[in-house]
């Protein structure tokens, strides 16, 4: 038994914001109430801390199997725990691709021994994520996947997307798409705009994303399937999602901390600023901030994409896309969204908890009987993020050396404290 005392319980599902204690009994919450006492229970004093449901990251890359020099399930989930995440959804673009049940099972077996947090893998929509034949989606679901995606690339054709959405409908699996018109984006290494022209770097127009978002929404309307737009980065894409929601379509989307914090004007020849989708314009960032506030955006997801230092220490146009993100996600959310006065704290917590849970069709709450996955964080703990201190195997973050106010202080998964600051 673990008794969390004196914390500020923030539970978006029940709109609770109160000074309450939580008594954990193994994998289930036993009791939530004021001034609880339990003889023999270990006590965790959460005075001054927010106690939230466990954070879920809908989008990350753990590189195992296949690219263990960049990250492993062990190191990646340790970084996730340090970021306050209690469950992560690794994308299937490993080597081999997670496109069949035996790969899914091997990932989960590996996780059982090595992972600090829950692993909810995402399966490939097509075999090898090649955009041709449907992968073994139902078998992977039985093995434990929670969604499908060909992330790293878009689901190749409208026809394939239609088949995937038709097929996933009865299974209740969301289809997550990396929206990008490959012909428009071809060769691009950053967002097209004044900055790309100045730097002489090949740009991808914002339309490369929004054209594909629009396609996907049309297919969602055609099939009635569950569409989730990954790492949405542009104003036009957000408008498409907003309109789809207004029309009652089951369409959701996520935004990354780097897209709501930085813009293309921050890009230098430093490859730590290279990711896909690339950083958008100032107008895009403002639109994302608005979407995070007004509910158009359903979740904050990190798109944690570790790359071994040697692979990033190259010319900008030759570097792989991607930045790490677990350990800075909450602090960036607090800095850019809450401390700045743009969002109430409850809304930020929702974007990390019940928001992503709804995308996956599950519940996330703090109540008797609920799973004992909790994230405890401080709103004012002063600290500086140093990439060299990261639990990740990789260091490719644009936020190295940034000072923050607020941080995850304890991460509890299935009743066990897996991280304590």
């Amino acid at each position: 038994m673990l008794l969390i005392k004196n914390g500020r319980i923030l539970d978006p599902a029940s709109r609770t914001d109160a000074q309450l204690d939580v008594l954990l009994d193994g994998e289930r919450i036993a009791q939530v109430g004021p001034s609880l006492a339990a003889s023999g229970a270990e006590v965790l004093d959460a005075a001054g801390l927010v106690v939230a449901p466990g954070f879920i990251d809908l989008h990350c890359h753990l590189r195992e199997p296949g690219q263990e020099l960049s990250e492993t399930i062990e190191t990646g989930t340790r970084a996730a725990a340090r970021g306050g995440f209690t469950a992560v959804c690794p994308m299937p673009n490993t080597q081999p691709v997670n496109d069949n049940a035996s790969v899914t099972r091997s990932i989960l077996e590996r996780a059982a021994g090595a992972a600090s947090v829950r692993m909810w893998p995402i399966g490939a929509a097509s075999v090898g994520s090649k955009g041709e034949a449907l992968s073994e989606i139902a078998a992977m679901q039985q093995a434990g996947i929670v969604a499908v995606s060909d992330d790293g690339r878009p689901i190749a054709t409208a026809r394939l997307l239609r088949q995937v959405m038709d097929y996933c409908g009865p299974l209740g699996l969301p289809v997550i798409d990396h929206c990008e018109d490959s012909s428009l984006a071809a060769g691009g290494v950053m967002r097209e705009g004044p900055r790309s022209v100045r730097l002489g770097l090949k740009g991808m127009p914002a339309a490369a994303e929004s054209v594909c978002v629009h396609r996907d929404i049309e297919i969602a309307a055609l099939t009635g399937g569950r569409l989730h737009v990954a790492h949405l980065s542009s104003q036009a894409s957000l408008e498409h999602v907003r309109a789809a929601k207004a029309n009652g379509l089951p369409v959701t989307c996520e935004v990354t901390p780097h897209h709501f914090t930085l813009t293309d004007e921050d890009v230098t020849y430093d490859s730590r600023f290279k990711m896909n989708p690339p950083l958008g314009s100032c107008e895009d960032r403002n639109a994302l901030l608005q979407g995070l506030a007004d509910g158009t955006v359903d979740a904050i997801a990190t798109d944690h994409a570790p790359h071994h230092p040697a692979s990033k220490e190259v010319e900008f146009d030759r570097a792989p896309f991607g930045v790490t993100g677990f350990e800075t996600a909450l602090a960036l959310g607090l800095a850019e969204l809450v401390h700045s006065g743009r969002l109430p704290l409850m809304r930020l917590v929702e974007l990390f908890t019940s928001g992503p849970a709804r995308v996956l069709g599950i519940e996330r709450r703090i109540a008797a009987g609920a799973p004992t996955d909790l994230t405890l964080f401080s709103l004012d703990h002063a600290w500086t993020f140093h990439a060299t201190d990261s639990a990740s195997r990789s260091r490719n973050t644009p936020f190295d050396g940034r000072a923050f106010r607020g941080a995850p202080m304890a991460t509890i998964v299935a009743g066990r404290v897996v991280f304590r600051r």
Binding site: V197, L201, Y269, V314, E315
Partner: protein
């Protein structure tokens, strides 16, 4: 002194004063090219590494000759002879060259920002001899020297740049330089290579897609090479380019009668420029080549030689 600088990575970070200073420093080296004995001892004992990761003839020979006329030795790395084909990274190649202790490195590379990347990781001065579609600062300096010689000053001119502006590092460096020195730049070329963002590069820059309109009243015309190897998009048919954008004698008459024509080379006669214009009295192409030597000698002298404030006439220390 604000004239001091460690690297030459681009024109954009330089001030008008620094640019003028560099051009002034080039003056004695221009005259030096006419000496019968073209060898100085100024940089004797110094070594300049020439790292050309992209095919180049004229820029490489120009830097190599500039170094040798100053008495410096050169280390040559050429793309075809380099270890890049064996998979070595740019950083490792640069560090290997650096370990041979050159006093400066001149780098030409197909990636924008490559010289910047190296400058942040090596201790020696880095000179950008062209990085991708970003900048080619010594080309802009030699163009400016040529314009100043022919027209007496660099401010107040109408300069028209013709060609594939989007993919041109020569255009970017010239746009920055001309804007800082007070001239107006008109950009003209096929619309897909003329995005509106170019007007944000610097003050006093305009796009005019129509060539007749763009040439009207021009004092200086810079014709760019059609860089087919750098064009990612489907290429424009050469016939179409000639029809719409070739600088012909008839079109040149729309500019001021005393207008000068520059071309960074290599020229494709009959494509971007009519041979009659290339060889005509308004053409400066061969002066540009000679001025390139002067600018690069001045640059190497400033980066590797004595502090400029102490410098007497650097061309006096002949062998």
């Amino acid at each position: 002194m604000s004239h001091r600088f460690r690297h030459l990575l681009g024109i954009e970070p330089f001030s008008a004063e620094q640019i003028t200073f560099l051009l002034d420093q080039s003056k004695p080296f221009q005259e030096f090219q006419r000496h019968p004995l073209k060898k100085l001892a100024t940089l004797r004992g110094k070594t300049v590494a020439l790292a050309f990761f992209e095919p180049s003839t004229r820029t490489r020979i120009s830097f190599s000759t500039a170094a040798s006329r100053l008495g410096a030795d050169t280390m040559n790395l050429q793309a075809e002879a380099s270890s890049l084909s064996k998979g070595e990274s740019l950083l490792d190649t640069a560090r290997t060259l650096d370990a041979m202790k050159p006093d400066a490195i001149v780098i030409r590379h197909s990636s924008s920002g490559a010289s910047d990347f190296i400058a942040q990781r090596l201790e020696i001065p880095v000179i950008n001899a062209g990085d991708g579609t970003h900048e080619h600062p010594t080309q802009a300096l030699l163009d400016a020297l040529t314009i100043r010689d022919r027209k007496g000053r660099l401010d107040g001119w109408n300069v028209t740049i013709l060609g594939d502006i989007l993919h041109s590092r020569v255009a970017r460096s010239n746009i920055h330089l001309l804007s800082k020195l007070g001239s107006r730049t008109t950009l003209c070329g096929p619309p897909m290579w003329l995005p509106r963002e170019l007007e944000c590069l610097a003050p006093n820059v305009w796009r005019v897609p129509n060539i007749e309109e763009a040439l009207d009243g021009a004092d200086v015309i810079i014709v760019l090479r059609v860089q087919q190897e750098r064009i990612h998009e489907p290429a424009l048919a050469p016939e179409e380019y000639i029809l719409e954008y070739q600088l012909t004698p008839e079109r040149l008459r729309l500019a001021r009668s005393d207008a000068v024509v520059l071309h960074p080379g290599p020229m494709i006669r009959g494509l971007e420029i009519d041979p009659a214009v290339a060889d005509g009295p308004q053409s400066c192409v061969l002066e540009q080549v000679t001025n390139g030597l002067a600018v690069r000698m001045a640059l190497l002298f400033l980066l590797l030689g004595a502090a400029p404030t102490e410098a007497k006439d650097p061309t006096h220390a002949a062998y």
